[in-house]
């Protein structure tokens, strides 16, 4: 028997088929996604239909590479990009493209919601989590303020992975993990928070799907979709946001384990059996997708400076490795503050990057390369220390690829 794992990301969709007793991956498929083109700066949107098509292509590719009977697949789970706002009409069809996690056009709406709840501190007291610009809440208010005619058609709000689950099973629901990234749910009680709903729209609750425990299945793949692939009876688990699913996929389901994911941004998250609330709001107080919690740190500066540095001196990854090997820990006293794109944690949105401590002795490529790498890790470690000060006791870090 086999299980199918789907990861619908921002760049594309991946499908993995794994053998259930051994965990062995026996089939893979990938299909690229398009972004909506021609938007204003800060906007980032995708058509939910793109995800459906890409998922179907990725599944077909994975089945072809696995060389098994499709009927041997008995269950599947869907991971999706967090925070995206999928607005659906009364027929559960998308009204417009989804605004994604990295859409920053809703700064005003974010501030409006926070102010309606009495400011940042009060927002955290009421929901257990602070509201970031990327979260779903401000995207809903944005639609109401900017596209009233679309908003009037809005009957159901889903997140990207919920939309794929709906397509597969016909069931609209939202599990706690991804719901914790909406900015609409009290992450402690795991109920919709009335004050924030009212701040957006007094009737918002009617547009939200039922909240469910991630241990509950969504349902079975509908007959007409199962037939497309030759599936028989395939159970669909709750799925979840990509970070929550990556936590499970790295075995981060008990206290002491942390996942470190390095890409353009860097994230560290760790399972907790109880909510971990940061009164400063630097650490995101998410729920996980096994039934626990998943405090998460996200910094904005990881591979960005190394890419610029490589471009400047025309270096490849091997050159970079060799430069770093040629230097000593601490880069002879050269320190790099990596804030090329500003920073979220620590909260320094207007910061820029800084080389500090250059002298005649340490002014060379090797030290600069090492200082850049060390600076990005020191920056992550500042946030990691904050996580520890909130009570986490990490024992092991599990590093995972660039996402």
């Amino acid at each position: 028997m086999y299980s199918l794992g789907i990861d619908s990301g921002t760049q594309g969709t991946k499908a993995l088929i794994i053998e259930m007793d051994s965990g062995q991956v026996i089939g893979r498929g990938y299909e690229h996604h398009q972004m909506v083109a021609g938007l204003k700066p800060g906007e980032s949107e995708q058509s939910p239909e793109t995800w459906i098509k890409a998922m179907e292509v990725a599944i077909t590719k994975a089945l072809n590479s696995a060389k098994i009977k499709p009927s041997e697949i008995v269950c599947l789970g869907v991971s999706g990009q967090q925070h995206g706002f999928v607005p659906l009409n009364k027929n559960f069809c998308p009204i417009r493209p989804a605004k994604l996690w990295n859409d920053t056009s809703t700064v005003e709406e974010t501030e409006e919601i926070i102010n309606a709840l009495g400011g940042k501190k009060s927002f955290i007291e009421k929901l257990g989590i602070s509201l970031a610009v990327g979260y779903t809440a401000s995207k809903i208010l944005w639609l109401k303020k900017h596209e009233l005619r679309n908003y009037e058609k809005l009957k159901l709000i889903l997140l990207p992975h919920n939309y794929l689950n709906l397509y597969l099973t016909g069931q609209p629901q939202m599990e706690y993990g991804d719901a914790s990234g909406t900015g609409l749910m009290d992450i402690r009680t795991r109920n919709w928070q009335e004050d924030v709903l009212k701040a957006i729209d007094p009737t918002l609750k009617e547009k939200l799907p039922p909240l469910s425990h991630p241990q509950e299945a969504v349902g079975y793949v509908k007959k007409e979709i199962a037939e497309k692939f030759g599936f028989k009876k395939v159970l669909v688990s709750s799925g979840g946001g990509d970070n929550m699913m990556a936590a499970i996929g790295t075995g981060n389901v008990s206290e002491g384990r942390c996942t470190l994911s390095l890409g353009t941004s860097g994230t560290i998250f760790s399972y907790s059996s109880s909510p971990v609330i940061d009164p400063e709001g630097e650490i995101a107080a998410f729920c996980d997708s096994t039934g626990g919690w998943l405090p998460l740190l996200c910094t904005m500066n990881v591979t960005n400076t190394t890419e610029l540095f490589k471009g400047l001196f025309d270096l490849d990854n091997e050159d970079l490795e060799n430069l770093i090997k040629a230097s000593q820990p601490g880069a002879d006293g050269l320190i790099f503050l990596p804030f090329i794109d500003g920073e979220r944690v620590p909260v320094l949105p207007q910061a820029s990057a800084v080389f500090f401590g250059l002298n005649r002795h340490n002014f060379n490529q090797s030290n600069i390369a090492r200082a850049i790498i060390e600076g990005t890790i020191l920056n992550l470690n500042y946030g990691f220390s904050r996580m520890k000060s909130l009570g986490l006791k990490p024992k092991e870090i599990r590093a995972t690829g660039c996402r």
């Binding site: 299980s3 794992g5 709750s238 996929g249 320190i335 804030f339 910061a351 600076g375 599990r398």
Partner: protein, 100 residues
């Protein structure tokens, strides 16, 4: 990296952690539907394989990196008021910086 975090850093055989996690969650849910109550820990420990690539902290460097971390944190704290001033300087004389 292990030296800065002062923790072991391990990597896993399957790098597509989100897709792999989705498949694992499906297995857990399937087993539960069949009446088999398996713990999350048992499931992931049985199925997830570590890759040989791992790094362990050198205890001799622990104090050194702690000192470096303090320098690093002290620098950005002291510069935190200078950054907005400098951003304004760039915005008014050179180009508009766009970031979050």
């Amino acid at each position: 990296m292990a030296n800065i975090f002062q923790l072991p850093v391990v990597t896993l055989e399957e790098p597509e952690s989100a897709a792999y996690g989705a498949a694992l969650q499906a297995i857990w849910t399937y087993k539960k539907e069949k009446g088999e109550n398996i713990s999350w820990n048992d499931l992931v420990n049985k199925l997830i394989r570590k890759s040989p690539m791992a790094a362990f902290p050198d205890p001799n460097l622990a104090n050194f990196y702690r000192e470096l971390q303090n320098q690093f944190d002290s620098l950005w704290r002291r510069l935190s008021l200078e950054f907005p001033k400098h951003r304004q300087f760039i915005d008014s004389h050179f180009f508009k910086v766009t970031s979050e």
